[in-house]
Amino acid sequence: MFDTLIAGLLRGNVYALGAVGISLVFGVMNVVNFAQFSFFGLGAMLAWLFVAELGWPFWLALPLVLVICGGLGLLINIAVVRPLAKFLPLAAMLSTYAVSQILDNASQIAFTAEFRAFPKVLPTSNFHIGTMRFGTSDLVMLGITAVVMGAMAAFLKYGKTGQAIRATAQDQEAALQMGIPVSLVQHIAFVIASALGGLAGVFIALYVGVANPTSGLNVGMTAFVAATLGGLGSLGGAVIGGFVLGILEAFGIHFFGDSAREIIVFFVLILVLILRPGGFLGKVPLLSTEPLTGTFLGKGRPFTIPRWAWIAAAVVGGILIPVFGDNYLLTTGTQVLIYAVIAAGFTVTAGQAGVLALGQAGPIAIGAYTSALITINLGIPFWVAVPLSGISAAVLTSVLASPIWGVKGHYISIATLGIGTAIVAIIRLVLPQGIYGIPMPSWGDTLLATPVAYYLIDFVALVVTLWVMLRIRRSHLGKVISSVGSDEVAALASGVRVRDYKALAFAISAFFAGIGGSLLAHQYTYIDPTIFTMLMSLLVVTIVIMGGVGLPPGAVIGSVILIGAMELLRFTPELRIVVYGLVLILVVRFRPGGVLVRNA
């Protein structure tokens, strides 16, 4: 038991460092900073470069990593985050995601994707308590964390800048009126957070033994959860969240195995959020709309799409492409269409109900698995399986998500992230083997397995989805859901049962996610849990943000741009992701509300 506790402490140490950085930036800027995740991997690789390649002493390398990461953080804040965060946190969040893509891939080009063995800087197993061995290295890491945390706490409590950071976190506008240079404070917070990210990265490398440019992603995700557990914006909470999560994870893995890790993390998260909706030390947001989308909705008006544009789109998508397109265009088209179905269905949750759910891979996976299992085992035809998969995804996701609707503000996004991740983790636990030989669609005896057949099936699915979604928007129900997203308090005061409508919107989105999953499964004919990743969830979110968060047609355009661009950029394989990130940033920069939303 004792050795598991030590393992948990060491792991919690890294989470705590990461979580403090995330919480700090969130506190002063109200932005979830995905770029923070990249600093873990970058810190580890820089440390490897300095120590292993250049042979510099560790004590020189460590501060240098902090300086480089801090400097990069400042640059990112000036160039990308701050200009957008001022008026559109949602756009800022999307661009931090783009920045993290660029950073990861630039780092991959610089360092290559290889895992590198990290040199042993300090002994790792020279002490023992009972049978558990640990080393100077571990003690030094814990010691550095303690010193850094102590210094941070003192700085925030007594330092002038520290007090300014706290004031900004409490109330940005009031702080500005009191003469606090808010923009400078935000820069400082960003620098500190990035440097802490780098430090955590170095610790990961020291502790794990090998590192590559993307090795921070999972730790980053868990650190993010730790920050939420503690209460976003609360630094003490972040430290507690980090250690609590580290220790619980260690014991969870001990009893249930490593595959249960994600389930444990998110189970703890959801439990804490239900019991304490603001986290351990965070304040419960009393009157809060979903801050990300809430801010956004008032900022611009969507374009009204004229009749001729609909007709033109239908002609191009439904006639010209299937008749004249070659198979490559059609196959790429199927992916665009399926993601458009998923994203268009998602607009009611993300845009209208104002819940930026981050775990759509969950219902997509449920749809795919349902469809695969019932067609293979029960012989149910494809055409029946597709709608059944949608229903199954809607029902199962609703049941799993039912406890979270009391959670408010940002926390609900993170809770949905938890639900999505937990669904995939449960599938991995129950059905770890992939499913092979999922039947292709057929009509009578005709096998509809050509690219053009898949394209047309998906096209019809999209037309139906758009029709349903637009009907919902125009209906009374749709307006009620919109009222929830735009002003939760007013809706509540008018007698709208806010929780129920959020749950309903989520179920509708899960239905279409399930349909999309089913279509994917029958096209791939093979599925396994590695297909339904966090990146898949993020792609769905980016698609709706790109198009205009509440607009079903916007989801189609977002899907064309985001999936099409990945194919269009094939001319530059190495730089593909970097250019992709740049395109994303540019679009967000000039159309922060989405392609189909005119600027305010």
């Binding site: 050795d3 393992a7 792991r11 991959q108 290559t112 994707a113 895992f115 063995a117 790792t124 197993s125 023992h128 049978t131 502790y207 794990v208 033994g209 090998v210 590559n212 999972n218 994870e249 260690a250 195995g257 490593d258 595959s259 890790r261 801010t295 909705l297 008006r301 969507p302 799409i305 004229p306 544009a309 033109a312 070659d326 198979n327 490559y328 265009l329 059609l330 196959t331 790429t332 992916q335 770890p432 992939g434 092979y436 292709m440 397995a449 690219p451 307006k479 791939y524 004919t525 093979y526 396994d528 297909i531 355009i557 661009a565 194919e567 394989p573 593909r576 992701i577 392609v595 005119r598």
Partner: protein
């Protein structure tokens, strides 16, 4: 702070107040969308012409991860392919026609590997495609290759299902995981080890079937597994799993997995004070360079330090072309072999899609770095009776182990 809210449902009559400026922007948005669609089409038709005269290159496609999580392997494959292509062309190519490779990045993501597959199927100049890396990317692309009658050579796909569930168009020269881990259980037992602690990658396409094969064989030969822990390669901290796995004080430790995760595991295994022999890992830089990995034993198909002339010549040529590469691993050797097999098949059956398939069904005794000689078992579309050699990591190098 309250915010003014407008939603399009409340402004459906907005058209009446549209000014020319808005129309322009709206047009711009549509043009952007249309442009992308047309652009996609243009890209896809660029390579549609096919055939090939006597001096045109023979094209092989490569669907692999050039960016993303699995990019490490894409890089290794590319280096070996490029070296092999250079040598083959210097020796006259395929009946005078040079060999050329077309790379497409799939990130080993099925969403992209199917698009890549369709792109290759549509590109009539491509006569065979290598890849993809993972099962999750390879198997979803298989139906497309089959219907396009284009041979999909998953030279790296150790998952038996790739060929078992595939058709005549799926071939592989990778030894299956089942064969590898059945061998390992026998070998560990033959060394007089009575009990082992095990970690295995809890992945559908690789780790789970591999562990099952290991366990079945261990049960058969009487090797006790004190505890087996499923782990994920994306995790960084395995100490909780490891403390549990060695709690029963097994004599040795087996990891069913790859190099990077084995490097993390062996480092942490030693950090918690376990001293038994570590069976596992891979001949891969991240693992070889890990100080704690010293003394690890694996069953290898390819040993860099082998004295076999063909292997020595390959290693020498590889290091001459890539002087920064300290080690050559089975990944590079596998890719190098794969191009030679493909070329041999094309020479035999003809440099067309049909010809290559015919060539694969007939080709025999292709000289190989990994196997010595490669002949296919045409019923499994895998290499007939592959052999493994026990090797030990000594001084950061794998050498044949005779202990």
């Amino acid at each position: 702070m309250t915010r003014p809210y407008t939603d399009s449902t409340t402004t459906t009559k907005d058209t009446t107040m549209t000014s020319p400026k808005f129309t322009k922007r709206r047009l711009a948005a549509l043009v952007l969308a249309a442009g992308l669609t047309v652009g996609l089409g243009a890209c896809s038709t660029a390579n549609a012409s096919g055939g090939g005269s006597a001096t045109d290159p023979v094209y092989f496609g490569v669907s692999a991860a050039i960016t993303g999580q699995y990019a490490q392997y894409g890089e290794q494959f590319k280096k070996a392919f490029d070296l092999a292509a250079e040598e083959i062309n210097a020796a006259g190519g395929i009946n005078g026609r040079p060999v050329a490779l077309k790379y497409e990045d799939s990130q080993s993501d099925p969403k992209q590997s199917v698009a890549v597959a369709q792109k290759f199927v549509g590109d009539k100049s491509v006569v065979l495609v290598f890849g993809d890396y993972s099962s999750a990317a390879s198997i979803p692309a298989s139906p497309l290759y089959t219907s396009g009658k284009l041979l999909q050579y998953g030279f790296n796909n150790s998952n038996p299902a790739f060929t078992e569930k595939g058709t005549d168009y799926q071939w592989s020269t990778s030894i299956t995981t089942n064969a590898t881990y059945t061998w390992l259980a026998d070998y560990v037992k033959s060394k007089g080890v009575k009990s082992v602690g095990v970690t295995y990658l809890n992945t559908a396409d690789w780790g789970i079937p591999a562990f099952k094969a290991f366990k079945d064989e261990a049960d058969k030969v009487g090797l006790t597994i004190t505890d087996a822990e499923g782990v994920l390669d994306t995790s960084d901290d395995y100490r909780p799993s490891l403390t549990k796995a060695v709690a029963g004080q097994p004599e040795a430790f087996v990891h069913v997995g790859y190099g990077p995760d084995a490097a993390k595991l062996v480092t942490q295994l030693r950090a918690i004070g376990y001293k038994g022999t570590f069976f596992g890992g891979q001949d891969e830089k991240s693992f070889d360079g890990t100080p704690d990995a010293e003394g690890s034993i694996i069953g290898a198909q390819f040993i860099e330090t082998s004295s076999t002339p063909a292997v020595a010549a390959f290693v020498k040529a590889f290091k001459a072309k890539y002087p920064n590469e300290a080690h050559v691993t089975s990944f590079e050797a596998g890719a190098y072999d794969a191009l030679h097999v493909a070329v041999a098949a094309a020479k035999l059956g003809g440099a067309t899609r049909d010809g290559v398939l015919k060539g694969f069904q007939q080709v025999k005794d292709v000289p190989s770095i990994v196997y010595g000689k490669i002949s296919f078992d045409t019923s499994t579309r895998r290499v007939a009776s592959p052999q493994l050699t026990p090797t030990i990591l000594t001084g950061g190098k794998w050498v044949e182990y005779k202990g």
